[in-house]
Amino acid sequence: MVYQISVFMENRPGRLYDLTQALERANINLKAASIAETGDFGIIRCIVSDPDAAYDALTAEGFTVKKAHVVGVEVDDAPGSLSGIARALGERGINILYLYAFSIACRNKAILILKTDDIERTKDVLATALPHRIIGQEDIAAL
């Protein structure tokens, strides 16, 4: 199981720096991040080395923070990997709300971070039907 830290942020210059500074001071490493935005505000979502410490550090700085489960899955860094996942979930009526990914080039692997409308079933489908390796927070920390 992987924890994601998401933060509600006003969309203005310098605000991301406030966040990264807070993480740096707490000695937290960002493994992956994505920003979704509308004109006025955005949500930054990130996978970090230590989610609990990140949550505390950001909350202490006055950020609006949410810590929640997402699915982390390891796939081959090769054409068609995501396609297979998208098909498997789609066929079972599971909706992907958002995803972001990063590759581990030295291992020819990529990690997908997925948020769906049914986290438990998603893990099931990915682990059994395909099958892929579902990663946990300890894998993230080891990266």
Binding site: Q4, S6, F8, M9, E10, A36, T38, D40, F41, I43, R45, G62, F63, T64, V65, K66, A68, L97, K115
Partner: protein, 419 residues
């Protein structure tokens, strides 16, 4: 009209109010005043003021001095919280009001043969119907376009030979821009006169409108509590608003002490109506800041003249002709989960139109990482604001603690309009 004539009108009005409106009988009695004691116009200073909050408490009939069955029309303006302020009219009131508006239009040279495009809103707002009745009484042709649908407004301006435009000054400026964008020089339109009011504007804005359309732009004054538009009007000299002296007695008072100020001194404008049957107003505190002229204009209109409205005693904002009170916004936010009570209102002129944005602080309690839900929250607030204020407001959600807190009175309004 001389002072003796006005004194007798005032006496008649005060006696009428004392005899027919329970509110006034009570208020006069509590202040130890009886209409028979009135000896001079100056004695009006002994009569208690009427405040907007008192009027509002008479929802939904208005502060009636006649049997409800004699009311032929209701109008209303937005209130500071829930209920609007209602004003009612008898048949005679409607006729007098129309004649006042007709007199205003006449000052601007409008008459039979004029084609008036009336872009004030028709409905509960007094602007649309008020101008309409006056114009018809004058024998002018009225095109009752009401507000909105700018493309159609522009088409009618072009096609109907409109020579008089009635609307808010900011909307006039906006129309000129839309006409220009369509490839037509606004100066080429047959328009020659603009009657603009319902929101504060300045001489520089007047010049911009006059230049854009090549017209003469007149300021018209009114307020629903006083009867609607047509209370006062500029003459061709464009120097101050003539207030019909057989219809109103105007005083200027110190907004703090209520003390009557002299001509030329700036203060809160207080109106006493001399004509209203259904909802007479005695010493009504308008909240508008201006002064009485001490000089005579020289035109035929009344000598009672006030300067342009330069401000408000309360925190009322006028946005696109609509009264907006911060308390209304507070009221909306108090009913919505996931936001704190902290907010700030930003008003700007974007192009010609007012643009109002409300910064609302989220509490974070409901934050659950879903973009959709935050946008939904934003839309829900905008929707509620529109339902209450009747103008479109943009809501910007900000992080907790980001709205500046102040020790004393919070600065809720940032008005960046350069009028």
């Amino acid at each position: 009209m001389n002072d003796a004539q006005r004194l007798s009108l005032l006496k008649r009005t005060l006696s009428y109010c004392y005899d027919h409106a329970p509110h006034y009988r009570q208020a006069f009695t509590a202040a130890g005043f009886h209409p028979d004691a009135l000896r001079s116009l100056e004695d009006l200073a002994h009569v208690p003021f009427l405040r907007k909050a008192e009027l509002r408490s008479y929802y939904p009939t208005g502060i009636l001095a006649v049997d409800k069955r004699r009311v032929v029309r209701y109008h209303a303006s937005s209130g500071t919280t829930g209920s609007p302020t209602v004003v009612s009219y008898t048949k005679a009131d409607i006729a007098t009001w129309a004649s006042m508006v007709a007199d205003c239009l006449r000052l601007a040279g409008v008459g039979e043969g004029s084609v008036i495009q009336n872009s004030y809103g028709y409905g509960l707002f007094t602007g649309g119907l008020g101008l309409h009745y006056g114009a018809e009484l004058l024998g002018a042709s009225v095109v009752p376009t009401s507000g909105g649908n700018t493309a159609r407004q522009v088409k009618i301006l072009q096609d109907f030979g409109v020579d008089v435009l009635c609307c808010t000054p900011s909307y006039a400026l906006y129309l000129s821009e839309v006409v220009a964008e369509s490839g037509i020089d606004p100066k080429e339109l047959p328009l020659s006169v603009g009657i603009f009011g319902a929101e504060p504007w300045s001489d520089s804005m007047r010049r911009r409108i006059e230049d854009a359309f090549d017209i003469k732009a007149y300021d018209i004054y009114g307020m629903s509590e006083l009867g609607g538009p047509g209370v006062g009007m500029e003459c061709a000299g464009q120097d101050g608003l003539h207030i019909w002296d057989d219809k109103y007695l105007v005083e200027v008072v110190d907004p703090e002490t209520g003390e009557v100020l002299g001509e030329g001194e700036k203060g809160e404008i207080v109106f006493t109506s001399l004509w209203k049957e259904a909802c007479p107003v005695i010493r009504f505190r308008t909240g508008d800041i201006s002064h009485l002229y001490d000089s005579r204009c020289g035109c035929d209109a009344s000598d009672q003249r006030i300067g342009r409205i330069v401000g408000r005693t309360d925190d009322m904002l006028i946005v696109r002709g609509v009264n907006v009170f911060p308390s209304q916004i507070e009221h909306v936010l108090s009913k919505i989960q996931g936001v704190s009570g902290h907010y700030q209102i930003y008003v700007e002129r974007k192009g010609a139109l007012d643009d109002m944005e409300v910064y609302v602080e989220v509490t974070g309690e409901l934050f659950n990482d879903s973009m959709g839900e935050i946008i939904e929250l934003q839309r829900a607030i905008e929707h509620e604001m529109y339902a209450v204020l009747n103008i479109k407001v943009r809501v910007r959600l900000v992080e907790p603690g980001k709205i500046p807190r102040s020790e004393g009175k919070a600065q809720r309004i940032i008005d960046r309009r350069m009028l």
